[in-house]
Each structure stands twice: as structure tokens, then as C-alpha cells.
């Protein structure tokens, strides 16, 4: 059970990293980090982004469940 959850965790983690990297970056770097620039990106989110969001949320849910699961198993044992 634990091994299964851990493998689940690894798979979802790797997927999650890839999915997040697929998103379009909106960070804007450091210059806007601390009250710097006032750039306004008005472009709305595309269909691709929307589906990507949904997929990321789904994988994140799996990730959280397996992380909590492994933690609970550790507590019980």
C-alpha cells in the first residue's frame, strides 16, 4: 500500500512539475516583485490554458491525497 502510494506520489510529482512548466509564465521576474513595474497583461486565458489548469488541478489533487496518505501510514505504523 505504502509503496503504491509512494510510486503514485513520484509519478504525480513529475507530472505536476512538467504541467506547471507548460503554463505560460506570468511572473514577470524580479523587477515587478517588490513594487516595481506596472505591467498589465490584458490577454485573456486561452482554451489551452483553461484545460491545462484543469489538468494541473486534477494531478495536484492526486498529489495531495498520496502525500497525506503516506504521512498517515507512517503515523499508524
Amino acid at each position: 500500500m505504502k509503496l503504491f502510494l509512494q510510486i503514485c506520489l513520484i509519478a504525480s510529482s513529475v507530472l505536476l512539475v512538467l504541467l506547471v512548466l507548460l503554463h505560460r509564465g506570468r511572473g514577470g521576474g524580479l523587477s515587478s516583485l517588490f513594487g516595481g513595474g506596472m505591467q498589465s497583461s490584458l490577454s485573456g486565458s486561452t482554451v489551452v490554458e483553461k484545460n491545462l489548469d484543469r489538468l494541473t488541478l486534477f494531478v495536484a489533487a492526486i498529489w495531495v491525497i498520496s502525500a497525506v496518505g503516506v504521512g498517515l501510514l507512517l503515523k499508524v505504523s
Binding site: L5, Q6, L9, I10, S12, S13, V14, L16, V17, V20, L21, H23, R24, G25, R26, G27, G28, G29, L30, S31, S32, L33, F34, G35, G36, S41, S45, T56, A60, W63, V64, S66, A67, V68, G69, V70, G71, L74, K75
Partner: protein
């Protein structure tokens, strides 16, 4: 003030944005308390209690403060946004060194997007590195110093597979934090990354304050609060300060319409670089300490070098540490302004759109003038940054405590919190203004 808040919440669009931001911040805090799989929550809490009881502070005080206490708990979000900040600092510095990056930076929006993408890749790489380091330190019992790994094993089952699972989980956690920040920037209000940082620091505020109240009594606590308020006021005063260089635009006809002919100003902030110099300087000062700790032999005498580092750099009340920190902050303030604000470019842009500073010829004289003004302006700005940052070292020196930068009412923490708070309020206000409500700041 309160009615402004009400009208902010009464606007459906703005309300959705604010609630979205708050929701993400709640998720972020929840993740910060969720322990990584394989880490024994009970043992970690026991160790943290031991550390907080003693005066001994860990190496990672500032980093721990920035991660909202999540680092020492080894939670899934243990690394916080530190990897992202480090990555953006590195990319920012590389724009000076690597010609290709410089070209990308000049390219405008598309080049900027590419740089952001590089930053994100670098963040993940750094997250892998840092989480490996943190996990290795935790297993060897060096993360939580005076805590015996045999009585309180932080990672009970330290097989390689288990450790790999923890490292990968932490890396994914960092990626999620990055995504959260971007979501806030995109759909919420304010800049996501800085809001996340704000949250982690604010989360430390209450426990640290409680710590002071418990260990030193009510009087000291009251004095500290008054000092904190005074510091916050002065920080707001300095952050808002700006020099307005007047710029006059020439009138011109395009088609049948008249454009330009307006006189505006070029705002130059007193503290153009924000808190970035402080973050640079402190991370640079932590380096020798980290190296000496990693290179330390488990038994045997500490080497001369380690002793030198310990007495002069680690000890936050030693004058060497304080003056070095101060000088580094001033240096980085100038350095960062030089990177981000290019007088030549500004002068060129102004010339292109038919603008000029009254009394000064466009082109080279303008850029020289801007450089001159900026250099003079940065001096008080950098001095102020340095003084605010080293303030806690001084007055904790007076009370005779071996405390440090961890102190949340002065120094770096206040600089970051006030900067982010002001920025966010300004953004909410500009949204309100669009709908013809009067804002918070008058």
C-alpha cells in the same frame, strides 16, 4: 477608509479577485503545515520546541523566516519561494554577463517571456538542488542543531528510495508555489510571488511576538511594538518618496489630430531597488557560514578558518558582520539600480517621442543628467536601506540577547512587508478608481 473597503467588496469583479487571492493564500498556508511524506511530524515538532527553548538559533534564520517556518518543519512547501527568487536573481545577473540574455531583455515582451520561461526552468533545477541539501542536512541532524537524531529521528526510515520520494515531493511543492504565484498575478490582485512572501513573513509575526512577550515580559513587548510602528512609518515615508524630473512633450500633428504638448514628470524613487539589495547581501553573507558547516568534520578541532568565520561573520552582533552587511547593501543598491535603470535608454526613448527635460538638450546631456540625479538620489536611499536592515542587530545588542535578523519587527521582514502591502493596496485602489470610487489613500 472602512467605506472604501466596503465598496471594494461591493464590486463583484473586485470581490471575486480578492476572494480568489485569499483562497490561494489559505491553500498556501495549509501546504506549509503539511509534513512531507516520510518525515515524522511528532519528532520534528519536538525538535523545534527544543530549539525555541534554547537561545541557539539555526543558520537558516532568514531563510526560515522567508519560508514562514515551513523549512524547519520539512513540510511539502518547505522551500517556499526561495528557489524562484534565487533563480530570478541569477537570470537578472546573467543579463549583464551573457550577450544573448541581454539581447532577449531588449527585445521587449516576447524576449521577456522567454527570460521568464528560463527563470522557471532554473527554479525547478534549483528546487531539486536545495531540497536535496535540506533533506541531507535533516538526516544528518544538522538542520535542527541541538536535537539528537537517535532519540528523535526526523526521517525514521532513511532508505534511499524514501529520501528520493521526499526530494521529489518538495520539488513538486515548489512548482505548485510558482503556479500559485502566477495564478494570483493573473487572476487575483497584486503580484503573486511577493504576496506569497508577505504571507509567510506575516505568519511568523504572531509566534515571534508571542515569544518575546513570554520570555521578556510585557514592558519589552510594548517597547518593541512602539519601535516596530515607528520603523514601519519611516519605511512607508521613504518608500513613497520620489524625485519628479519634469518632462515636456512637443506638440505634433498625426493625421488631423494633435498629439502631445503635455508636461509630465519622470518619477525616480528614492529607493529604486526595493528590498532586493538586502536579500542579495544577506544571502551572500550566509554563504561562508553554510560552507563551513557543510565542510565541518564530525569530530575533531574546528579549523582556524571556521573559527574566524564563526567569530566575525556568524555572530550577528560583531561589528565586522554589521559593517560588512551595511557595505554590501549599499553596493548592491547601486548595482541593482545600474542594472534596472539605464539612463541612455531612457534618454533615447524620450527623444524618440519628442520629449525633453526643460533646460537640458535631448540625447547625451539628458542621459548624463539622469545618471547624475539617480546617483545622488540612490545615496540616501541605500543608506536608509542599510540602516533599517541593521537596526535589529543594534537594539538587540542593547538588550543583550543573542538574537538576530529573525526578529520580525525590524530589518528585512518589515521592508518586504511594507513594500508588498503598499503595492497591493495601490493596485486595489487603481481598480477602484476605474469604477469611480474613492480609494484608500488620500
Amino acid at each position: 477608509m472602512l467605506s472604501a473597503f466596503r465598496s471594494a467588496l461591493a464590486t463583484p469583479d473586485l470581490r471575486r479577485k480578492i476572494l480568489f487571492t485569499l483562497g490561494i493564500l489559505v491553500l498556501f498556508r495549509l501546504g506549509q503545515t503539511l509534513p512531507s511524506p516520510g518525515v515524522s511530524y511528532r519528532n520534528v515538532q519536538e525538535c523545534i520546541r527544543l530549539i525555541e527553548g534554547s537561545a541557539n538559533q539555526s543558520v537558516y534564520s532568514l531563510i526560515n523566516l522567508l519560508s514562514g517556518g515551513a523549512l524547519l518543519q520539512l513540510s511539502v512547501f518547505a522551500l517556499g519561494i526561495m528557489p524562484y527568487i534565487t533563480a530570478s536573481i541569477i537570470v537578472q545577473l546573467l543579463t549583464v554577463v551573457i550577450p544573448r540574455f541581454e539581447q532577449l531583455k531588449k527585445e521587449g515582451q516576447s524576449g521577456q517571456n522567454k527570460l521568464t520561461q528560463y527563470t522557471r526552468y532554473l527554479t525547478v533545477a534549483l528546487a531539486v538542488l536545495q531540497s536535496t541539501g535540506v533533506v541531507a542536512l535533516a538526516v544528518r541532524g544538522q538542520l535542527l542543531r541541538n536535537c539528537d537524531t537517535t532519540t528523535y529521528p526526523i526521517v525514521p526510515d532513511s532508505s534511499v528510495f524514501n529520501l528520493v520520494v521526499i526530494v521529489i515531493t518538495m520539488t513538486a511543492g515548489t512548482a505548485i508555489i510558482m503556479w500559485f504565484g502566477e495564478l494570483i498575478t493573473e487572476r487575483g490582485i497584486g503580484n503573486g510571488m511577493s504576496l506569497l512572501m508577505f504571507t509567510s513573513i506575516a505568519a511568523r509575526l504572531v509566534p515571534e511576538g508571542g515569544n518575546i512577550l513570554r520570555t521578556q515580559g510585557g514592558l519589552v513587548f510594548a517597547v518593541v511594538c512602539v519601535f516596530g510602528l515607528a520603523i514601519i512609518t519611516s519605511v512607508i515615508f521613504m518608500e513613497q518618496g520620489q524625485r519628479r524630473v519634469p518632462v515636456q512633450y512637443a506638440k505634433r500633428m498625426i493625421g488631423r489630430r494633435m498629439y502631445g504638448g503635455t508636461s509630465t514628470y519622470l518619477p525616480l524613487k528614492v529607493n529604486q531597488s526595493g528590498v532586493i539589495p538586502v536579500i542579495f547581501a544577506s544571502s551572500l553573507l550566509y554563504l561562508p557560514q553554510l560552507i563551513s558547516q557543510l565542510a565541518a568534520s564530525p569530530t575533531g578541532e574546528p579549523s582556524t578558518w571556521k573559527r574566524l568565520v564563526d567569530t566575525y561573520l556568524v555572530d550577528q552582533s560583531s561589528w565586522v558582520h554589521i559593517s560588512l552587511y551595511f557595505l554590501l547593501i549599499i553596493f548592491f543598491a547601486y548595482f541593482y539600480v545600474a542594472i534596472t535603470f539605464n539612463p541612455d535608454e531612457r534618454a533615447d526613448e524620450m527623444k524618440k517621442f519628442g520629449g525633453f527635460i526643460p533646460g537640458i538638450r535631448p540625447g547625451r546631456p539628458t542621459s548624463e543628467y539622469l545618471g547624475f540625479v539617480l546617483n545622488r538620489l540612490t545615496l540616501p536611499g541605500s543608506l536608509y536601506l542599510g540602516i533599517i536592515a541593521i537596526l535589529p542587530n543594534f537594539f538587540l545588542d542593547m538588550t543583550g540577547q543573542g538574537q538576530n535578523q529573525n526578529f520580525p519587527f525590524g530589518g528585512t521582514a518589515v521592508l518586504i512587508m511594507v513594500g508588498v502591502g503598499l503595492d497591493t493596496v495601490k493596485q486595489i485602489e487603481s481598480q477602484l478608481m476605474q469604477r469611480n470610487y474613492e480609494g484608500f489613500l488620500r
